[in-house]
């Protein structure tokens, strides 16, 4: 066994230890530990990705001295290593981009708590990506929920407390459903390791025994994770949570937290139930319909918003709808499109949040559109970055959003019943996205000759400008280098199950 195979375990343990150690460190040291951690885990994931691309097959790592089916396992393949690397990259850029806001909005003595929460969030994301055991997945889902709640309420204004409470309520509803369905699945199959559960489920499905309990269990698993990742009717907590928390939190919540649950759902589809059983069940039709409704109603709510950050938050509801529409198509092309959209949305949404804070900073901290008129002339870099993000969301070629929409359209062609609704709603949501994003871009570029607002140039905020440039490069890279990324997703899904 080569040394590189220890890296998934090292990543998870290093993240948890950093969190524990940061509890006794002052704020500056905790920040340095956090940055070092993200860079280290990113480097380890990159080396692991190169190694796995070389060997071409996944490996299983025993956690402890007991073999399957009694012990715990983590499993790493090309898809998992790449996702871990991508999550680290987004987390690094979000943390650096929101650093100034963090110093302003969080009390001095509580800043090290923020870094503890981010370290634990990273550990839970890595564990969700790598785990091969369903109950470990539940435990880390809960750690994810708790750290995300902490990220929302670290900024202590009334709005964030209410947002955090609403978030916890909805999230715990989802956790409860997930837990009872996983207990029922343990009851049906007698195993907790994902690969073993899949074999038992295949036997049960072939012999047509316990069909009703099996379908109920699958339905509850999907419902639980869909509630947690804010699929359409369950998104009421989202605008407050993303809109009023500090910028790094909003960027990380929208890009990483919901994607962790969606990645777990993909893992359950492939590695616990088996993709053929899922594709034949009626559950993906329900996910498809809710995805379509989310795409439309998220965009309609965004058009009615008057506050830039809540508008971006409602746009997230629509984008999560895209991902579930891809699941609902029930084909491998649909899953590839959904995974590409996870990457594209994470890169674009965090860019939008970090750019929006630059725009509000030069408008005396006000977030309504009337106050943001002409702010792109006062903070040029943020204006350009916001424009790039908006163009990507709308689906302009050369940016990552175009490739996602193309993949979704290609995946839905040829489907008997789902092609027409998918393509129609895709077109409709592109128009709606263009309405509210382009309206904002036009407004920030309308010249407004105020003299009472400050101007921010690149010289004044070098690190912030550098972060925005990195985000834009990432977006364009996803848009133009999409073929190698699609190949990576294909090979990852092939060794996923």
């Amino acid at each position: 066994m080569s040394f590189v195979q220890n890296f998934p375990f090292f990543s998870i343990i290093l993240s948890m230890f950093s969190g524990i150690v940061s509890s006794v460190l002052p704020a500056k040291a905790a920040r340095r530990v956090n940055l070092f951690l993200i860079v280290a885990v990113g480097a380890m994931s990159a080396i692991l990705l190169v190694y796995l691309t070389g060997t071409g097959e996944p490996f299983v790592y025993w956690m402890g001295h007991f073999p399957a089916p009694w012990g715990n396992e983590i499993r790493a393949g090309v898809l998992e290593a790449g996702m871990a690397l991508f999550f680290c990259l987004i987390m690094l850029l979000s943390m650096v981009g929101g650093r100034r806001q963090l110093a302003d909005e969080v009390a001095e003595n509580k800043q090290n708590l923020y870094y503890i929460l981010v370290d634990l969030l990273l550990s839970s994301l890595l564990a969700l990506v790598y785990t091969n055991d369903l109950f470990t997945a539940y435990v880390f889902v809960e750690i994810n929920t708790i750290s995300a709640c902490g990220l929302i309420m670290i900024r202590q204004i009334g709005r964030t407390f209410e947002a955090a409470l609403r978030y916890m309520i909805m999230s715990l509803l989802g956790s409860g459903l997930f837990l009872i369905s996983l207990c029922m699945l343990y009851d049906l199959t007698g195993h907790l390791l994902m690969s073993n559960i899949k074999e038992s489920v295949a036997v049960l499905a072939a012999q047509q025994e316990y069909t009703v309990p099996l379908m109920t269990t699958i339905g509850l698993l999907c419902a639980g994770l869909a509630i947690k990742s804010a699929l359409f009717p369950f998104h009421s907590w989202l605008p407050d949570a993303y809109g009023y928390s500090t910028v790094s939190s909003a960027a990380m919540l929208s890009s990483l937290v919901s994607k962790g649950y969606i990645f777990l759902l993909i893992k359950i589809f492939y590695r616990v139930i088996g993709f053929e059983i899922i594709a034949q069940s009626k559950i993906i039709n329900v996910l498809f319909v809710f995805g379509l409704l989310g795409m439309i109603f998220g965009s309609i709510s965004a058009i009615q918003e008057n506050d830039i950050r809540r508008m971006i938050a409602f746009s997230s509801v629509a984008q999560i709808g895209y991902i579930y529409m891809g699941f609902g198509l029930g084909t491998e092309a649909g899953m590839t499109a959904s995974i590409f959209h996870i990457l594209s949305h994470a890169a674009t949404k965090s860019l939008l949040f970090v750019a929006a804070v630059g725009l509000t900073d030069v408008s005396k901290g006000r977030r309504e559109f009337i106050e943001l008129t002409g702010s792109a002339y006062r903070n040029r870099m943020a204006g350009i970055a916001f424009t790039v993000g908006s163009l990507s969301m709308v689906g302009m070629p050369m940016f990552s959003g175009f490739v996602s929409k193309l993949l979704f359209a290609q995946a839905s062609i040829g489907h008997a019943h789902k092609m027409l609704p998918a393509v129609l709603v895709l077109a409709l949501s592109t128009i709606l996205n263009a309405i509210y994003f382009m309206k904002t871009v036009i407004r920030i570029y309308v010249p407004d000759y105020r003299t009472d607002c400050k101007t921010i140039t690149v010289k004044k905020q070098k690190v912030y400008a550098l972060t925005l440039v990195c985000f834009m490069i990432l977006n364009v890279a996803l848009g133009m280098l999409s073929k190698p990324i699609e190949n990576w997703i294909h090979s990852g899904l092939a060794m996923f199950g």
Binding site: F135, Y138, V139, E142, T145, I146, C149, M153, I157, G158, R159, F161, E162, A164, L165, R166, M168, I169, L172, L173, S175, G176, L177, L179, I180, C183, M184, Y186, D187, L192
Partner: protein, 125 residues
Amino acid sequence: MFGPNLFTNYGEAVAVILFVIGFSNLLLQKNLIKKIIGLNIMDTAVYLFLAEKGYIRGRVAPIVVNGVQKVEAYINPVPSGLVLTGIVVSVSVTAIMLSLTIRLYRRYHTLDLDEISTMLKKEGR
């Protein structure tokens, strides 16, 4: 649906009914403390379900006494481990929810989430 299995497995049926009671309390109650109680009922129902599933008639708890070491003398120990993990998770989230409730109560002097939303909209921040 109401076959003979339902009456043999009445423990699991009660657990699912309790789960639904807890779930609807967490979702629909207006009072925050009652929501938290609903959360705890929901989680406890899952533990009851797991405990029922671990039990095998005629056997004892999985602690070795009198040197009896054969597998057939003890119940399934795995669900008990799952219940312990679940209890830890439940306590942690209850603590967070309660601390948020205390914060909101000190600020707005009400335990009703809808009233708090209305007050927040009025004060605008």
